[in-house]
Symmetry: C2
Amino acid sequence: MQAPPQRTDRHRVRRHPERAAYDRERLYAVLDAAFLAHVAFVVDGQPFAIPMLHARDGERVLLHGSVSSRLLAALAGGAPCCLAVTVLDGLVLARSQFAHSVNYRSAVVFGRAVEVTDPDDKARCLWRLTDRIVPGRAADSRPADDGELAGTRVLAVSIEDASVKVRSGGPRDHEADLALPHWTGVVPLALSHGIPQPAPGSESIPLPAYLAPSTDP
Amino acid sequence: MQAPPQRTDRHRVRRHPERAAYDRERLYAVLDAAFLAHVAFVVDGQPFAIPMLHARDGERVLLHGSVSSRLLAALAGGAPCCLAVTVLDGLVLARSQFAHSVNYRSAVVFGRAVEVTDPDDKARCLWRLTDRIVPGRAADSRPADDGELAGTRVLAVSIEDASVKVRSGGPRDHEADLALPHWTGVVPLALSHGIPQPAPGSESIPLPAYLAPSTDP
């Protein structure tokens, strides 16, 4: 039996509280914008932080891996976990080293994982995880067969507590530094997608529409 | 008194051992290539994962933050921590959903943090952390003054155990799937730097050479 979730203040942001938010709408936006999660949990007193692909499914966050993964097994046992995602938006260059910063959107979720065992739910979760790689891809690939389903563990992390932290905008130098001659500003950062490289056998297959370069600026 | 480091197998990669490495050279390369770390540690049985800027300084990994941060104080107390960095290199699209993957370079470091208190060492660490934002920037900004040094905590994480995991190359579909008609290949990913946006007051200052667009392909 696992203990019921405890309401705590573990998710309260102390540093730069003006950057913090606690509403689900902003939490979901950051979880959906981030491509990768780092999941922390404890085994025999030792903290682990593991990079994992995640996908939000309503109020739960999906993870997956091999049934032979000891770390996934530890998570599936209902140990408390902390899932963090961070989207980097820019480098903030100020006149003082102290005022240098980074623009980012981050979310930290505290919860526990439960294993998804219902076959239909599990297949749907894997579909969603595939579509996180490229939206539209799940429908254009072979779904998991029974053997692959049996070899994969899917976990759903409940969101017990969570916080979002965002920094945006330019540098905020001290008044006394404003006369210093250094260039200041922001260098935008983004995870960019390059030109798709076909694997052997796919050179003559037209590039799927969902891989076409975005027309967004 | 903190316990001496224990040699354990906590860092041994079980899943996809062919992707793993344990030598310092490759570890340092991944730590240096990643812009952001996620640091896991335990407070009262609760795991935390916090995004932090990191900088490698020889055999130690530097972190910093405010002296008023309770999380940094917990880390500085010598609690075991796990620092993970991940560089995303590509999306791997296979014929089966199961064979989809991501190309990446990740490193996981197990160690303990000690606070850097020597004033000269501390100032040098903050210089290095500033230069992680943009190489060359530390020399073109005002170093921390005594008040800023006093308000900042610098931690150095010792590397007790560590592992590197790398996936590269194209999709590896099962033989039975090779006749399926889906496009397969790799979509390269990279954290790209956009055009620097000057802050008010810097519009007429020439862009520093270290911010000029790279001539690399």
